[in-house]
Every structure is written in structure tokens, then in C-alpha cells.
């Protein structure tokens, strides 16, 4: 058995398991040992489910021996701790759910399990997915494997760090304003956020229902395509999941990108973008052009308004979504409440962290009498303008390419004082959420030893073209295979 199982991608591991080079139990044991020894400093996990993982690995090996098993049979994955997992702690990074054991599986958890995946554990995250640095987690920040002083981004920071540190070949994540793509960019991994409605939200603890979408973080586009094929498709339990055919995403990777029209957004290279990041992105665009893509300039005139729009819509929805945490049926409950009001105010005051409380209050404010029209309704109108901008752009191009994040990974504590600085980190990613578009980030270089991501956005249900474009790019470059030194 090779010592280096942790370095392999899902696709490579699937081949190795298929050839009988090693068993799923061996693979699982190797990764669990790695997590046990290395995650103390990284803090990527809230819960490691070692026993359940080994049991699942044994079942996978048995079914393989019997000639059965799904496409992910015996392959290890980790779940962001926002997905409900039956019988397993599901904290959402919050004190509120510190002791919450979900009594059911999220649809995507169920689908990955049915395909034979082995779940190693649940990853750390910004509390209720509200944050871009993983610093709002009740369980402490996650560190970036490329530099332990730095943030891995957020909110799916634990998932990104776990994949970058080779604890697992793949992780699930959720993306409401960039929470898969930004940490992927900051940790040198591939992050895919599908079209809104492509993947079920059932069992994913809601932050902002009209923006949330589940996706994956992997070390190759091919792996992302493989997982998306398992996760995607109609779910009767989610009214907003869409009945749209699921193509074979892995098959679709091999098509040519000759003539693929790639849009470059004028506004993306304005002030705010780190110059060295801009250079890396321009270089990536040149690579695509060399592979036959046609670069075209496009306009997203309301790009600047996407962040304020998001910071009205997302808090509004979150203020309502998080009202269910009241200390009565589940979750944190204050000791010895004086009366009902005290039970509510203290349970919620103690159970939620500062950022979550701020967002709940922002949302409460923008929906309240006298402010609804000026904020919430206005934001929904601007949201329509932003969606229209994308629609116009996609009349001319197949894919829009640009930077994922304005800077590489920043230091922990650097942006915690001013909420606005933190919010502006999501300037390039938020538009896709507001318009419900699929988008991904793939590694496209380094700035002072820190990874930088190339961001690709497609029209609704345009995942196949995005994945193909990213896959072609990876054929020409090896940024996605780079590994932080201490985690080789």
C-alpha cells in the first residue's frame, strides 16, 4: 500500500480502489490518522466520525467484493457542519447548536451515502455560514494550511482547509455569497457553486434561502464534476429544487473549448483588486485564449451595488430563518428564565455570536415597518437589475471569467473590526448568488506564496461548460496540484 493515499484525488482513488491496490478501510484509516495528528493546529473539523467512517468503509469493501457499489463506493468525503447528518452532531459552527444531534440526513448526505461515500467528519465553518474568514465559528477559527497565521476564507473554511491539507479528497460546502469559491481560492482548491435549484437544500441549515446553494470543494475539476453528478437533481422535499435533466458532467469535460466565448468584466479590474492577483488572472485568461477560447469584454454596470444588495437580502432572510432557534424544541436554552421573553432574549443572546446577531438585527431592521420599501423592496429591485446585467452579458458570452477574491488569504484578525471591509471581500462572488448562476473557482497561481483563484460564472444550468473550461485550464497548468509544504 502506498504511503501517499492522501495526495490522490477522488478520481485517482476510485481507480485505485477499483484495481484493488488498497481497500477503503486502509484509505479511511490513513486519512483518519492524518486528521488525528494534523488537525489540532488547523481546526478544520468540529466532529470526526471515525467509527462510523470505518464501518462505512468496511461496508464499501464488502459491496465491492460482491461486485456492487455506487460511483463513490469507498471514497472519503467530509461535510460542512451545516448539513444535517442523522445521529451525528450538527452544530453549524454555533453555540446555539453545540449539542444538536440531527434526527435526519440532508438530501445530499443521503445521496452521497447511497453512492457509497465514506464520511470522515463534519467541518468547521463561520457561524451559520455568516462570515468570510471562519473567524465567527464558536469552535474557533480554522487556519490556512498555506500559512497558519492566515484565514482560509469562509464560510466553508473548514472544508477548504481539509481538502487543501489533504485530510480528504473532497468536501461539501455551501455558498450564499461566495462561501465555497472564496475559501477555495484562498486555499488553492477547486470550489463549485451550482445553479440555484440544481442541488437540494433539504437538510442544509438555512442562512438566506433565496441565495443558499450546496456545492463541493475538491482538488480537481474532474472530481467536482463527479460529485455534482451524484448531488444534483430534483428533490421532492425542496420546492425550490428544479426538475432539469442532469447531464454526465464528467463526460462533458472532454469537449473542446475552441471558440468558447469568455467574457472579461470591465469593472473587475478596477481599484480594489490586488495588482498581483490581477496579473495572475490575466495570465490565466491568456492560457484559455491559447486553448482556443475567444475573450470578449462585457459590462456588469451594477456590480458595485451587488454587495449592498446582498447585505439587505441575506440578512432579511436570515433574520426570519433563525427565529426558530428559541430554546424550546432544540438548541441552546438559557438557565432559569424569568419569563417567556427572558427565555427568548437570553437563549438567543447567549446562543448566537456577534456577527450572527448583527445580521439578524440588520435583517429585522430592513424588514420593519417604515423601512421595508426603502431597503428590502429596493434591494429586490436592484437584484433584478443585477440579474438583467448578467442576462445581457450571457447573450454575448458562454462564460464570464475574472478574479474570485480581491486579495489572497488575509491574516486572522485583520478584518474583524470593520464589517464592511469583510463584506467587500465577496464583491466578485455575490453576483452569482443574487442571480442564481453557477460559478466555480480554480487555482490560477500564487502571490507571495499564497494561492489565487480564477472565477468562472455561467448562465443558469451552464455547469457543464464551466467545468469544461476549468478542466481545460487545469490541463495546461499545475496550480491545482500544488500542496502546502507541511501537508505533503
Amino acid at each position: 500500500m502506498s504511503q501517499d493515499l492522501h495526495t490522490l484525488t477522488l478520481t485517482q482513488l476510485a481507480a485505485g480502489l477499483g484495481n484493488g491496490d488498497y481497500s477503503s478501510v486502509q484509505l479511511t484509516e490513513a486519512l483518519l490518522a492524518r486528521i488525528a495528528s494534523l488537525d489540532k493546529t488547523l481546526n478544520a473539523f468540529v466532529t470526526v466520525t471515525a467509527d462510523a467512517a470505518l464501518a462505512a468503509a468496511r461496508r464499501a469493501d464488502e459491496s465491492r467484493a460482491a461486485g456492487k457499489g455506487g460511483v463513490l463506493n469507498g471514497l472519503p468525503v467530509v461535510h460542512k457542519d451545516i448539513f444535517c447528518t442523522r445521529g451525528v452532531l450538527t452544530t453549524c459552527g454555533s453555540r446555539m447548536l453545540e449539542n444538536f444531534v440531527a434526527p435526519y440526513d440532508a438530501t445530499i448526505v443521503e445521496r452521497l451515502n447511497a453512492a457509497g461515500a465514506v464520511v470522515l467528519g463534519k467541518t468547521n465553518m463561520d457561524e451559520f455560514a455568516m462570515g468570510s474568514s471562519n473567524e465567527t465559528s464558536y469552535f474557533g477559527p480554522v487556519r490556512n494550511p498555506w500559512d497558519l497565521e492566515r484565514s482560509p476564507g469562509g464560510s466553508s473554511g473548514g472544508s477548504a482547509a481539509a481538502v487543501a491539507a489533504r485530510f480528504a479528497p473532497a468536501a461539501t460546502g455551501t455558498d450564499t455569497g461566495g462561501s465555497i469559491r472564496q475559501p477555495a481560492a484562498l486555499t488553492g482548491t477547486v470550489g463549485l457553486k451550482p445553479t440555484y435549484g440544481r442541488v437540494s437544500r433539504y437538510g442544509m441549515i438555512a442562512f438566506a434561502s433565496s441565495l443558499d446553494q450546496a456545492g463541493v470543494i475538491t482538488r480537481s475539476t474532474e472530481d467536482a464534476a463527479l460529485l455534482l453528478g451524484v448531488m444534483a437533481g430534483l428533490d421532492e422535499r425542496d420546492s425550490t429544487s428544479i426538475d432539469h435533466p442532469v447531464p454526465d458532467y464528467v463526460d462533458a469535460l472532454s469537449g473542446p473549448i475552441d471558440g468558447l466565448r469568455v467574457g472579461v468584466v470591465r469593472q473587475h479590474f478596477d481599484a480594489g483588486l490586488d495588482e498581483k492577483c490581477a496579473a495572475a488572472v490575466r495570465e490565466a485568461l491568456a492560457v484559455l485564449e491559447a486553448r482556443g477560447a475567444v475573450l470578449t469584454e462585457v459590462d456588469l454596470p451594477n456590480l458595485d451595488l451587488s454587495v449592498p444588495t446582498y447585505y439587505v437580502v441575506a440578512p432579511a432572510e436570515c433574520s426570519s430563518n433563525l427565529s426558530r432557534f428559541d430554546g424550546i424544541r432544540f438548541g441552546h436554552r438559557a438557565d432559569n428564565p424569568e419569563d417567556l421573553l427572558d427565555l427568548y432574549c437570553r437563549s438567543r443572546g447567549e446562543g448566537f455570536g456577534a456577527e450572527v446577531k448583527r445580521r439578524i438585527m440588520t435583517g429585522t431592521y430592513v424588514l420593519s415597518a417604515g423601512y421595508y420599501d426603502a431597503y428590502y423592496l429596493k434591494a429586490q429591485q436592484v437584484r433584478q437589475l443585477i440579474a438583467d446585467d448578467f442576462k445581457k452579458a450571457f447573450a454575448e458570452v458562454d462564460v464570464i471569467a475574472g478574479p474570485t477574491s480581491p486579495t489572497p488569504a488575509f491574516k486572522l484578525g485583520d478584518k474583524t473590526d470593520d464589517p464592511i471591509t469583510m463584506y467587500l471581500n465577496d464583491i466578485y462572488t455575490i453576483g452569482a448568488n443574487l442571480a442564481g448562476l453557477p460559478a466555480l473557482s480554480t487555482p490560477c497561481g500564487f502571490v507571495e506564496g499564497l494561492p489565487v483563484g480564477l472565477h468562472l460564472v455561467g448562465p443558469h444550468f451552464g455547469e457543464a461548460a464551466l467545468l469544461r473550461c476549468s478542466h481545460h485550464y487545469e490541463q495546461e497548468t499545475d496550480w491545482h496540484t500544488a500542496c502546502p509544504e507541511s501537508y505533503r
Binding site: Y196, I242, N302, C345, A354, K357, S368, H460
Partner: protein, 95 residues
């Protein structure tokens, strides 16, 4: 400051959040900054723009009227902080 203490107190009450004293002062400051930031939306020209409540132009799917759930009360109530005789307990509700 675009928000004053009374407004923040009112919002906290609507949202049922108790804030510690130091937390409260910080919240007044940060919420004000957030509100100032989102205020730039007011400059956008949105006359005749239909508000977008949803990213996709789809309509509601309906489910058949069938009972599909079975009783899992005891299992579910393991997460409940305070129950008695199958009921969730709260401090007495006075009307």
C-alpha cells in the same frame, strides 16, 4: 450614527436578542455602519423594476395529500431542553 440606541434597542427586542452592555455599544456602531453602507442602494434608478424575490422563474410544485410521516416524538425530543409528558415546556404564558 445613522441608528441611535433606542432604535437598536427596539430592533433587538423585535429580534428577541439580549445584548450585553459592551456588546450593545459595539452593535450601535457596527449596525450604523452597515446601514450607511446599504444606503447607497437609494441612488439606484429602479423605477418600474419588478422586485425579484427569487433567482429562478419557476412556480410552486405541489405534493399529493398523503400522510407520509410516522410518530418520532421520543427520538426528536432528545434535542429538547425541557419536556414533560411529551409537551415542550416554557415559562407560563400569560394572556
Amino acid at each position: 450614527m445613522s441608528l441611535d440606541k433606542d432604535q437598536v434597542q427596539h430592533i433587538a427586542m423585535l429580534a428577541r436578542l439580549r445584548l450585553a452592555d459592551d456588546e450593545f455599544a459595539e452593535t450601535v456602531d457596527k449596525l450604523s455602519r452597515i446601514v450607511d453602507f446599504v444606503d447607497q442602494l437609494s441612488q439606484a434608478a429602479t423605477d418600474d423594476v419588478v422586485p425579484m424575490a427569487h433567482p429562478l422563474n419557476a412556480s410552486q410544485r405541489l405534493r399529493a395529500d398523503r400522510v407520509t410521516e410516522t410518530d418520532r416524538r421520543d427520538d426528536i425530543q432528545e434535542n429538547a431542553p425541557s419536556v414533560e409528558g411529551g409537551l415542550y415546556l416554557v415559562p407560563k404564558v400569560i394572556e
